[in-house]
Symmetry: C2
Subunit: 432 residues, 2 copies
């Protein structure tokens, strides 16, 4: 096989292939030997990768007659997309860990795999070592999934865990994550939720058999969360997690494919309040987990390492074995077709909300604020007020309300003279 | 396809097939239509199963030319084993949820599947709806798994959860589980660990590519646990769970297949003390979960409903789709061969222990007891003593020790004149 990309995952994969070669040959009856590793600077030595495997010409690796399977670990859209398409056009199965290209050009890539009758496998693109993609594609192939909620970004989960357990502020927790190598120097892709949004699009696509791209995903990050939000959540028996959520919204036609007539799919990434006794609440530090609610299967959760060289390489290796076994038996038929998705607008989302409001502490303010909620039909479930000198902080938890009504409420609140600041707005996960 | 068995799971499967038929045809390009459901009393009406599908002749269902896939949901060894063998001998792929036949005759059944080149799929046999078997067989095919620990019996997990949260005694919690339908009138298969032992054998077989049968599994149940044990565990920051554990014990040859020269496999079921912050500690009520530790993948956990008609039928349906797609593409090649297992004797297990001892409260007793531990090389990590009139209860936690040394210690303690009773002995899960 040919490997494109010699970074952390590529080097870990070369190492794993060497370690596990005899065992895999004995167990699976296949030999997995890398013929080349394409990197940008082939002259720079890479620990763990034999120098004679390194080359600068990725297209040549794809084209080599002795490259039977192409493993793409470059990441990003270009040139990964062209290389994957070229490999499949040449009849070669591909294994990729590249969430961006799948979330941006999944439909094109799947169509190419189908046309060529080759495998396009991507277990490592979401949830690292967690055997999530295969579970969703195969084990749950017959299941009608209602909702999937994932903690799919380890950086933000680490930051939120530190804010929760150590009481750190956002910037301190981020600095700590950077020092540990969990966060990049430029952390925006993680903390603004873009990484999670790509993964949400991929998961929604698999689960609902629909074409969902990153652009379809409503996305909010964690950079504006305050220690106050974390503390209030704790007091209310919740933790704050950045969730990637894909949900089936049944229309008049009832349950069914999100691509079909009846149902739409809502896909979003945002921080949310998760009850302490929910399995996702116990997912700490840089771990990832995906919680699935199915009509027949009930509640499922898959948990593990979402990133890191060896965990990710382990998932790639599982795919590689699958592709090699299928290649030997002539079994691969390409992935099933996906239908265009009907995306449910975020404004029609129905959920409960947490809202922190800073107001001037004087008589009549609460009545004015409550009046705004009432005018937009947003019903308050609980309220807590805390004095701050001549100001007060009010925390509201609403009953389930429509997002557009909530947004209208927030707009009006911002114009209320007594309101100093509208703080964090968090959606609350509940058994709705 | 033909279905053998029309109990809870069989009826749920017939229902799911009807509900999901259009969707599955659209998504997977296959039609799944049951041609017959074999039951012991075909004249007894079964809710959800059309009367014209019912028949009393299971062998005839297997033999029918229009039965392309056989789904076995009878359970037990006979006649399930013969029917599965007959189906595969006739070139028909089989899907089964039957842990007993797999744990007792797995090697024979896998060999038959290999010889016939047909699928033998059994996702529902362990962990119900949890997509565990496929993850272990395929996603982790290239992974070197060190240890797998599972809560794979919902009845005992429910009982232990009630003893922990409500402080119930064992018999009250069992009665409650029976009233809720979580436990059978004769609960022995669950509470003595036999059900978990069959699942442990199946998991060990997959993960280590080795022939492991129920007879190879050291098995202890939960019926002798006392509310005191639960309370002490809680005070020490632990919960008690019935765990099914399969572990690779590397020999001189280092890491490798448990069937090969270097490594052996240790498989056991027993109650264990699990630290509160371990992901398995949060698996409550009748939920199941399996925790996997891999050399490259790191820690993984899969969580969900381990039993129930619809969750189990959902797992069977996933397998059915897989088998049907493979049948249509001519892909199935049968499972890979398994090697004979080298079973690590329980006496050589190395772990930490919890031990509750009731002794006469008089000077010198602790010295005598500590002397017994010392003579057998079992080192005490912590000790806690509590007066009970003229008696005292002493709780010991040991450092990691060898099981045979611990057993010798227990034997000697039982013969010590000041020891009234040797209570529960629990193994302690730790990052050893």
């Amino acid at each position: 096989m040919g490997i494109l990309g010699g970074g952390t995952v590529g080097a870990a994969l070369v190492g794993l292939l060497a370690e596990r070669r005899t065992e895999i040959a004995a167990r699976c009856g296949i030999e997995l030997v890398p013929v080349a590793v394409a990197v940008r600077s082939p002259d720079r030595p890479r620990p763990g990768v034999p120098a004679d495997l390194l080359t600068g010409d990725a297209a040549a690796v794809v084209a080599r007659p002795d490259t039977d399977i192409v493993v793409e670990l470059i990441g990003g859209i270009d040139p990964a997309r062209e290389l994957l398409l070229a490999a499949m056009a040449g009849g070669k199965p591909v294994v990729t860990a590249n969430k961006e290209v799948l979330a941006g050009h999944g439909a094109e890539l799947f169509a190419a795999a189908r046309a060529a009758g080759v495998d396009l496998l991507f277990e490592a693109a979401v949830g690292g070592a967690i055997p999530l993609v295969r579970a969703l594609r195969e084990s749950l192939a017959g299941e009608s999934v209602r909702r999937i909620m994932g903690i799919v970004n380890g950086t933000t989960n680490y930051i939120l865990s530190r804010m929760t357990t150590a009481g750190s502020g956002y910037h301190d927790a981020l600095a700590e994550a950077q020092a540990l190598g969990y966060a990049e120097a430029d952390p925006r892709a993680d903390v603004e939720g873009h990484d999670a949004a790509a993964k949400a699009a991929i998961m929604a696509g698999i689960v609902f058999g629909a074409e969902v791209t990153t652009a379809d995903v409503h996305c909010e990050g964690i950079s504006t969360l305050s220690p106050n939000d974390i503390a209030f959540a704790r007091r209310l028996g919740h933790v704050i997690k950045l969730l990637a959520i894909a949900e089936r919204i049944d229309g008049d036609g009832g349950a069914g494919s999100a691509g079909g007539g009846g149902a739409a799919v809502a896909v979003r990434v945002h921080p949310a309040m998760v009850p302490d006794d929910h399995p996702l609440a116990a997912v700490r530090d840089s771990f990832n987990a995906v919680f699935v609610e199915g009509d027949a299967a009930g509640e499922l959760m898959l948990y593990g390492r979402g990133a890191g060289g060896r965990p990710t390489a382990s998932a790639v290796l599982g795919d590689l074995i699958d592709a090699a076994v299928n290649l030997a038996s002539g079994a691969a038929a390409g992935p099933p077709p996906v239908a265009p998705a009907r995306i449910h607008p975020i404004g029609e989302l129905r959920t409960a909300y947490y809202l922190a409001l800073e107001v001037i502490d004087r008589p009549g303010v609460l009545a004015a604020v409550a009046g705004v909620f009432g005018r937009h039909g947003v019903s308050i479930r609980s309220m807590e007020q805390e004095g701050l000198g001549d100001q007060a902080r009010i925390i509201f938890i609403t009953h389930v309300a429509c997002e557009s009504d909530m947004r209208a409420t927030l707009d009006d609140l911002r114009h209320l003279e007594a309101v100093r600041q509208v703080g964090s707005v968090l959606r609350v996960i509940a058994d709705e």
